[in-house]
Assembly symmetry: C2
Homo-oligomer: 339 residues x 2
């Protein structure tokens, strides 16, 4: 039976029932009405307007989001830094030598500043010790166990409760409009995948991140992938457009970040033909979250802020633009994607 | 309005109209009825049977297909080998030194056997010369121009006409049943992406392959990704499960290959919990295509054939199982995906 055989009175009814997305009155209720929100809605309406010159077919509606500082908090240390810290403490009983061996000794004393004074070498050593040497299946379980219980030392919230409610709404709004939404983060890809689907509604295959080398082996005749202590790919700065091209193979039409580490991703996105949207989350809310931009080592936004202004990209003023920061503040419990 | 407010008489009508996939009488018309076809249908029915113990949620229905020899022909040389051959000839006027320099001199004389006698070193040199040194956008155009015109020296067909009609039907059948279908090939990822969506209905972001290093640069203020003559990742043999984990982050529940280079992908797939499906295409049809397995350097199927028999994987006998090989033989013109 074809639609045309229905009585005319039924056609709108059927169309209504079949509609994939039922438009809510306001898809972005946690955003104050202002230039940031308006620019988002205008862009989405532009690329979804059938028959218009700005229409973009659904297949090409790729949107990429940074994670740390864009979808969840990153202060006073990246969440993955807290994970490393906690893993060193958990593994310490098996490593009595760590009591005197830096940078581990400082971590075990709770002195992160000294631990990090060893610079990049110390960071890599701590990262590899805690991220390599197990199978991918084992690491998935380690991350899952940690992320469901570990709490931020200052807020007392689960890290997954420190995601940004307005950005969750933005992800869902884009998905409702047939966008393919990806995470493109400097964080470890296997550190994110165990929870991004539950927390953001973004499935593992849409998560791009930094990685270490993995190796296929047969262990007692059973195939395993073992994580080796060797960097494979750093998905940060100029690595982000490279990661996007390697993994997605399409240029995004919209990109979202919060730091100079996202600048090349936004430049790459902006340089494509047709309608483009670039957005920076500017951390301006010291009372409800953190306020920082041009200074500091975590989430520095300096060159990016200048380029955003010069190019007319959207810069979200967290304090002005967001009614709430975290899902708990909406009155709802932990927001999960409806997908 | 909710469905429950409809009159009962309308409910089945609406359900019918809203159904995502309307089941054709036979989703695999180019497959002869036999154990291979039956095993495919049985598996799909098993994992899609709601409420059954074997049910797999759509999100986890990942299927991975090798490309060369599994979705299209690979004899007497990989298609990408013909591409390299043709590119060397096209670039020769800019490289007068190639007239005397091996392996290029032999290629220009049409003596591929001598060109390849330089072994891996010669192959890498030819591959890098023809695949690196340009931007990703430029390479996309080079591949697109070539693939739309180049013809197989023996069949006189476009290479994209030498795809296997039964496998196109299989891809569509899986997609109709909410599978996410990926290509996982030893071939170059950027060599496949320009045409896989048109020919197989598999979009760029679902194509995993071997890659060379790319680098982000600003050229006259415009961002470009330049392809460098350095191998990044070889997506073959034990590299296939690694590529799957890096790019998808989920273990497939079904995997399809034709050679020993696919064996680890099939082993990795088979080792997961729940229903699993592994299939080898066995090239047994010297009259309509090619017949080969344990001998030769292209698409050797030796250890894989033994393991398939030992483990009860499906082995497609091309001669017995397939009514037609190529789309043109169905009477239809070049088959394209309906997606």
């Amino acid at each position: 039976m074809r639609i045309s055989t229905l009585t005319p009175r039924l056609v709108p009814l059927v169309a209504l029932l079949c509609a994939a997305a039922v438009h809510a009155a306001d898809p972005l209720p946690s955003w104050n009405d202002g230039p940031s929100k308006q620019s988002i809605v205008r862009f989405v309406e532009q690329v979804t307007a059938k028959g218009s010159a700005s229409f973009v077919p659904p297949a090409e509606r790729v949107a990429t989001f940074d994670n740390d500082g864009t979808l969840w908090g990153e202060q006073p240390m990246y969440v993955q830094g807290f994970f490393i810290n906690d893993r060193i403490k958990a593994l310490a009983p098996q490593h009595p030598e760590w009591q005197t061996q830096e940078p581990f000794a400082s971590v075990l004393k709770g002195d992160l500043k000294s631990a990090l004074s060893g610079g990049a070498h110390a960071v890599v050593e701590m990262a590899m010790t805690t991220h390599a040497g197990m199978t991918t299946v084992e690491f998935d379980k380690i991350v899952t166990d940690w992320i469901t219980t570990a709490k931020h030392p200052q807020t007392g919230r689960l890290y997954t409760e420190m995601v940004y409610q307005p950005m969750l709404e933005l992800i869902n709004y884009l998905k409702d409009n047939a966008f393919k939404v990806y995470i493109v983060s400097g964080g470890g890809v296997e550190f994110m995948r165990p929870w991004t689907e539950r927390v953001y509604g973004i499935p593992p295959e849409h998560v791009i991140g930094s990685s270490i080398v993995t190796k296929f082996d047969l262990r007692d005749g059973k195939p395993v992938l073992t994580r080796l202590p060797k960097v494979d790919f750093i998905d940060d700065g100029p690595g982000k457009p490279v990661g996007i091209q390697m993994r997605i193979g399409r240029r995004p039409i919209a990109a979202f970040g919060n730091s100079d580490g996202d600048l090349q991703m936004l430049e790459w996105t902006a340089a494509g033909a047709g309608p483009r949207f670039c957005l920076y989350v500017h951390h301006t809310d010291a009372a409800r979250e953190w306020a920082y931009d041009r200074e500091g080592s975590i989430g520095r936004l300096d060159q990016g802020l200048d380029e955003a202004k010069a190019k007319g990209w959207t810069v979200v003023d967290m304090k002005q633009d967001w009614k709430v920061i975290y899902p708990a503040q909406t009155g709802a419990s932990q927001a999960t994607s409806k997908y």
